[in-house]
Point group: C2
Chain length 998, copies 2
């Protein structure tokens, strides 16, 4: 039906396109089976892409316009655009579709290939305006005899029609118009008399205000250039008119492009009537190619038509094919989270790997075996053993000092406010809780006041000078237990508690200095994911269980009268009865009106409370529960709101998600005020004085205890030091995890140095001791996470890292310090709301822990399990076994924690490290590499092996794996091996490591 | 490097494969541009696929085994399988991957094409055992000179190695083994002396127990046959050994296949060393082709090699291509919800549309314009106006009668239990609520007892005999208001209420009969989505607001003492003071111990309550709130649990999701019992007697009112009839929606007939009147929804329809009837729990309503909006306008409902229908077709147009749209048209319709 045009079944195209290859190969049947490692297309590409690789090509923005009839006039209407993914103008919807992966038909790609082979290709055309460019194209076609000269006017007229972009406010179009618009068939008027009087050129020369105002501009990189695809159906042609133009200089061609981006490429396809859909598909194909990283490079550097064709061929070689029976082409595919980087694809052409590439491209589900082992746990030089006195500390300071200015100015950001509020609330809750407990434990030698002051002092000093200012210092459980035992000991042995404590602090501080000077922190290299996650899960569980315990406690504190019958309200009262008058010695008491006394007064004066309502408190327990659970679930819900579809991204992320905790707290404080019940509120001390009146702000080192106590306190100090060292450094490892993408490096030695100094300082002032708090530190990091403003539409925002600075920490602790003056505001916050925040912190810090993911796997049938990479590589039962061992370890630790052994709790982490070392005997190194990290010695060897591998890369991988197999032999194998082989092989060194830590 | 083999760059393959096409076309460049409508490949396919289309080909199960070395032995290890989607054996994971779409490389498809062109193709081979088949293949290759005869033994040995399937318990393999296993290179021993003594054949003849026990069998259709793909790398070949075998009869070839399914196809690819990955990809390609609906048909019917090649070519023509830069091939694509059906794809070959097909295939995002307008709202013959006396009723009975037996036996299913429990609880809550309200309104002439009895009677009769037994009858708001007004009227005018009510019932019953006899129900054809969704949203909002109102009410009923200070518990009491003795006349009162009296007693005897706790009730309000909100949110959470990954599908769906309401109720009843507070409980009457002692169970028609009342009651009866008619039929329309996929048809006339009879019956017994309850009926349908047990792994379960039967309804109402005896159990259920269930019902019935989805669009920025099909076709501002009009209508209705006009509430639905009719003037028919349904007249015309279109299908679509444009002209256009054109065109008939309903 349609005569000569650029469309054909792809088989015919194959025939045509492949003729050139026939030339370079023997034409007999079997020759195709010979496989030269490099195809001619790849050879071409390698040549042009390597030419001058130092100059990166600009990003391309592609716009596709189709010829439409709008009323009586023809115009080019924008129908799709690409920055990286396709956005289509919805037919009828008059709006942009969501960005999606361009699904093409193989057919259109082949047709495009033919079009480029037969059409006009003008490379490096000097173009300054569209009319001139159009003239040049037509001239060339006439020269080559492809069109007859009498079409010049008509084609030029059509190509210079005005462009309507989707940004313009759409005019109301009736349905009948839509029916006609996509075909210009009825309008034969463009060269009639009435029209020729008009200007041939609807295109303006300078960018319009519409273009300049377009907000879409910010989605396009600054250096971007445009490629314009023009697709139209006309009735005066009987074969397609195709042109591919690359301009010598990117030029702004008036209103051609939606955004004021200069045009570099122009693809024109005008064809005879009746194949609009097919032309559209060809247009989408070239547009998709133009935004392909590799092809756009080729397009910029192509020397001739053949280079472009080679580019298409390479593209075809890499495409991923979906079978028609398994996928509905109508489904728009959401952009993936991650795509193969362009560099990786390009690199193929600089190495001698072309042959291999063909085999690996687009393997899809079959490619898993290609994946490398996970990247090793990198601790970097921070933990290298320097062997010099204070070598680590010196390096830490050297590393952190240059960042100091940015540590402040980078803190000026709106996110800081939400982070400070969140962490501040966590800190004062912690300070109050631990203050209360310490007060109980030490007979108020250290109370809430000391707790506030100490937190403020230690925290702000650490954040100001510490190596890792994202760490938040706080009181922790083990310290509390130590203080309790110490106080009891001093009381029973008539030793002055505060003075003893001061000496322990001094000793401990000195011991810390020794650890710093000897770079002792390097041993935490042996802490792998197993240990880290075990520790942090345990701390999270403690947070959760504490929050719940506190909540349950309020049901005990405010007992509910479950027997209350509304009708018998008359039967409930609580009267204060005066004590038996016979025993009454004081006259004052007789004058008392006993019925007017409050409960406390009554008991104080020896009265007794009689009545059925005395031991009950109505409403408060239930209200507390509502506040507690409400705060928790609202925070969780608001956090998840980030993933919902409502509201613009900014509102959702910056406002609702970042301030979710603040909003939840405000909501439930508001609810509490509205209802007005006397729920337990946050009470902070309002006067600046020690909790216990008989102590001052400075503890004197001498005078109260015998001299030998000063020396003997070395022993308990040792325990405190180990405790502090473990607690501090393991939290630091968790904070410094590579997942957090910290850029400013860490400072384990510097951290420990300041913790030591603060130990001594706090001891002198009689304040509690402080050490890194895992959960609050994680919360701190979480609240400071940055995500990229996604550039191309459809691209997933990337996690960029954490806003590393000292300002949030300092502000939090300064606020904690001045909280004493904030009492009038803080007193409105009910405690259950804060317990809810605690619960949230505990739960939130569990998420993202692989251990927790693995526990969940127990409850999932294997076919529903998420596609974790380790599940592709490690048998499920091994994964379960690993998880089970971890659970077992944590259970043992949990039980120990509940006994008096809690004092050595952080030391038990060493136990976890030993268990991890023993796991080497149960699991193969391959499994451990996926589930955990390899231990350092291994790692070094691994790197060497990697280097070796790098060299052997071109050789058969399977074979080189076989050669490297010593790296993967497990202990069991080693022992088996030793039994049969008198000479231990490469595995021999391993047992030494095993016992190194014991 | 590798010598002759079946691998090549695809460009070379193109060269080779396309040679044959060169023959059939002129060999000059331009000839490829000529487009014959039918390609040779398609011609071939059309021929073979049309041969005998009556015999469907069996489903194919494909298993791919690769040659591996296990210890010292070679064996075939299953590496992937396909039922419809691909499941891969995870490398190292020793488990099946999730089913995913097979992403292939274009390269592997071209290589496969070459393999089939050059390898051995044996069609309809008589095969009875694997050794014989293998012998035949080798013999053929030797005959054709493709391999040398001395390879016979080696190839045969390799091909007959034992097959290890993934079902077998994996033995522990060390890493070193894995490194070696995928290549058989080291093992050169298979023909050494030690081995030749062994049997050549590891393959068993009969299916093993492993095969028979395989649970996977149930995922494979009964008639399935297997295709086996064997891929291996060996060192004795220097070019690939390829064979494609189709057996004459499907034969079980021992342990070849994982499941005991007979093998029909066998594809063997043995190749030289070093290209394992490439061979694997070819294997995946043929396996994917074998499960492709179209290609498997071709494979079954192919006459020769060329047919198979043509099949591949057609497959290639339809594939969907993803650009390499926009998609990471490592991502496994989840199976889509819906794929193009095989029939649709095949139908192309039976029609004369081959040319068109090439253009439409795989257009992806660009295909939207191809979509047809949504399928019209089909009401079918049920609502046709018969024009005969009782014609509709007769048809209803004729339609429903054959289903009667299945209406019972299909009810025996576990799902029935959960549905009955859910609906039962909804019904009794409703019965109690409305019973209580009716009791108040009618001075206990109709109370809870009557409500229970009436519900049970009306409901069970309707479910037994009604046209649509899924409809649940219940008291509704408008009826309640009518009764209230009627009672007040009778009281004020000294008319006997019960007798008047009886006569109204009789009249209304007769009027219903008239409506039934005249097929009046046909008018609900004019009810479109706009009206339906408006009505059901309104009812849902009423449910939600009622539930919340009840909850808020309990805060008023149990006021909280917000001033309570725990310490001043002594100040709270409530004492009963005796009235002033001077006024005290009774002696009895003097003997009373006033302090021992309950609140009620105290007030009864004239005492006064004094004290600060008198007007407060502790804990109950908050506890009620916890129960209410807890039940609601737990139900929501459990319902969503269906979509989680935990637990096997059966447990999640059948147990947790289906019984979510029951489980929530049980949980919170348990919590309530545990805490033991006196929350308000469900109280059902325990004695079978009328609520008001002075009335009996039968109302006498005569004697109490003057005679004219009997006639005059015709007028209020008319209101009741309209009210009942609208309420009943609109609920029926909602229940019968085509989304519910009901198969047994509906019975509007029959429904109305029984509602009429029940009206009369209830009036005689003095019971409330009943009519279809929208929300509970929707809940009923939801609880009976069936989903397919998904057959192929990865296929989405399909919504099959609703378990249509009468059993659940009958059981619900029988249970309601016997609830009087269940009082001891029911009394444990707190009312707030039931209000929570109410809230859930209201919210759940909102979900899935398009109107609700559209409201949510207001809050979403357009780029985050879901891909609703109407958004692709209707401009967003038109969608918003439509939604806004709907909101406006509902607001007006809501306001009217809150006034005395509530009595004519269902009549107002007529108003909605008028508004809908007027929308024809505001929106184009195109927009309305997407957002709503077209009104019936249009529909008929549309169908005719469709027929016309069908004929014109081959012509240019755009043009035929232009011709049909009258169908799409809106009223505005019509009026515009009339102003300019004295002769109204096709649109002229429309205005008549517009006023038809007014």
């Amino acid at each position: 039906m349609a005569p000569v045009h650029c469309r054909a079944t792809h088989r015919q195209l194959l025939t045509h396109t492949s003729e050139r290859f026939v030339e370079s190969n023997q034409p007999n049947g079997h020759s195709a089976f010979e496989s030269p490692e490099v195809s001619p297309a790849a050879e071409r590409l390698r040549y042009i892409l390597n030419e001058d690789d130092d100059m990166p090509t600009p990003t391309l923005f592609t716009e596709m316009d189709t010829l439409q009839r709008e009323g009586d006039e023809l115009e080019w209407k924008e129908s799709a655009r690409w920055v990286k993914f396709e956005e289509k103008v919805e037919e009828g919807g008059e709006r942009w579709s969501k960005p999606h992966v361009s699904t093409l038909s193989l057919h259109s790609l082949f047709e495009l290939r033919t079009c480029l082979q037969t059409g006009t290709v003008l490379l490096d055309l000097d173009g300054y305006s569209l009319p001139q460019i159009v003239d040049d194209i037509i001239e060339r076609q006439i020269e080559e005899g492809m069109i007859s000269p009498d079409l010049r006017e008509k084609i030029s007229f059509v190509l210079l029609r005005k462009h309507r972009h989707q940004t313009k406010k759409p005019i109301h179009r009736s349905l009948a118009d839509i029916g006609k618009s996509s075909s210009a068939s009825e309008c034969l008027c463009y060269l009639s008399d009435s029209v020729t009087t008009r200007s041939m050129n609807d295109i303006a020369d300078s960018p319009s205000t519409d273009q300049l105002k377009n907000k879409f501009m910010k989605k396009i990189p600054r250096d971007a250039e445009a490629s314009n695809v023009l697709i139209g159906e006309v009735d005066f042609l009987n074969k397609p008119f195709v042109a591919f133009v690359r301009l010598a200089q990117a030029t702004t061609l008036g209103g051609l492009t939606e955004v004021p981006v200069p045009t570099r490429f122009l693809f024109v396809l005008l064809g005879p009537q009746g194949k609009a859909k097919s032309y559209n598909e060809i247009g989408r194909a070239i547009a998709t190619l133009m935004v392909d990283d590799l092809f756009s490079d080729v397009a910029y550097k192509a020397r001739d038509r053949e280079d472009l064709i080679a580019g298409i061929d390479e593209f075809l070689d890499e495409v991923i094919v979906l079978p028609p029976g398994e996928w509905d082409p109508k489904i728009r595919i959401e952009p993936p989270k991650k795509v193969t980087s362009a560099d990786k694809r390009k690199s193929v052409f600089s190495l001698n790997e072309l042959g291999q590439m063909n085999g690996t491209a687009g393997g899809g589900g079959g490619l898993a075996e290609d994946e490398e082992m996970p990247v090793q746990h990198e601790l970097g030089e921070e933990l290298a053993f320097t062997g010099r006195f204070c070598g680590g500390l010196y390096r830490d300071i050297k590393r952190k000092l240059p960042w100091l200015p940015s540590d402040f100015y980078e803190g000026f950001h709106i996110q800081t406010i939400s982070a400070v509020l969140f962490i501040y609330l966590g800190c004062i809750t912690n300070a109050i809780t631990f203050g209360g407990l310490l007060g109980d434990a030490t007979d108020n030698y250290q109370g809430v006041m000391e707790s506030f002051l100490g937190t403020a002092l230690a925290g702000s000093v650490f954040c100001l000078f510490g190596g890792q200012p994202l760490i938040i210092l706080s009181s922790t459980g083990p310290i509390l237990i130590f203080e309790k035992l110490l106080f009891d000991f001093s009381k029973n042995n008539n030793i002055d508690y505060m003075e003893l404590r001061l000496w322990i602090g001094i000793h401990s501080c000195l011991q810390c200095f020794i650890l710093v000077a000897t770079d002792a922190s390097y041993i935490i290299k042996y802490m792998t994911r197993f240990t880290e996650e075990g520790f942090s899960s345990l701390i999270s569980f403690i947070f959760i269980s504490d929050a719940i315990k506190k909540m349950v406690g309020s049901f005990k504190y405010y007992p509910i009268n479950t027997d209350f019958k509304p009708d018998y309200v008359t039967a409930y009262k609580c009267e204060c009865l005066a004590p038996d008058p016979s025993e009454n010695q004081s006259e004052v008491l007789e004058t008392l009106d006993w019925s007017q006394l409050s409960k406390k007064e009554c008991l104080k004066y020896g009265g007794s409370l009689v009545g059925r309502s005395c031991k009950y408190v109505p409403d408060l327990a239930l209200m507390s529960f509502i506040l507690f659970f409400g705060t928790y679930s609202m925070t969780i819900t608001l956090k998840k709101f980030k993933f919902s579809r409502y509201f613009p991204t900014k509102v959702r992320k910056k406002l609702i998600s970042d301030f979710s905790i603040f909003m939840s707290i405000m909501t439930f404080v508001g609810l509490d005020m509205l209802i007005g019940l006397k729920t337990p509120k946050l009470i902070v001390p309002t006067e600046f004085k020690p909790t216990r009146p008989d102590r001052g702000w400075i503890v004197m080192p001498f005078g109260k205890n015998p001299w030998w106590v000063y020396l003997a306190s070395f022993v308990p100090a040792l325990l405190v030091t180990i405790l502090i060292f473990m607690d501090q450094q393991i939290s630091a490892v968790i904070v410094n995890r590579k997942e957090n993408k910290l850029k400013k490096g860490c400072g384990y030695h510097l951290d420990l140095f300041w913790v030591g100094i603060l130990m001594a300082a706090c001891s002198f002032m009689g304040l509690p001791w402080y050490v890194a708090a895992t959960v609050i530190s994680i919360a701190h990091i979480d609240s400071l996470k940055m995500e990229s403003e996604s550039s191309a539409p459809g691209e997933q925002p990337q996690f960029l890292g954490v806003r590393e600075q000292r300002l949030t920490g300092i502000l939090v602790f300064v606020l904690t310090g001045v909280s004493i003056f904030l009492a009038p505001i803080l007193k409105f916050i009910p405690m259950p709301v804060l317990y809810g925040v605690f619960l949230y912190m505990g739960v939130a810090s569990l998420s993202g822990i692989q251990f927790w993911d693995r526990i969940k796997l127990y409850m999932m049938p294997s076919k529903h399990q998420p596609d974790f990479s380790y599940l592709r590589h490690v048998p499920l039962r091994r994964v379960h076994l690993f998880t089970f061992i971890q659970i077992l370890c944590l259970t043992v630790l949990w039980i120990l924690k509940s006994t008096f052994l809690a004092i050595i709790f952080p030391v038990m982490i060493l136990g976890l490290m030993v268990v991890r070392k023993m796991l080497d005997m149960v699991f193969s190194q391959h499994d451990l590499a996926w589930l955990d990290d390899l231990l350092p010695e291994k790692e070094k060897k691994k790197k060497e092996d990697d280097k070796k591998k790098g060299k052997d890369k071109d050789k058969d991988k399977k074979k080189s794996k076989g050669d490297d197999s010593e790296e993967e032999c497990s202990f069991i194998e080693y022992f088996l091996h030793r039994n049969t082989n008198p000479e231990p092989a490469v595995c021999a060194e391993l047992p030494l490591e095993l016992f190194m830590l014991n």
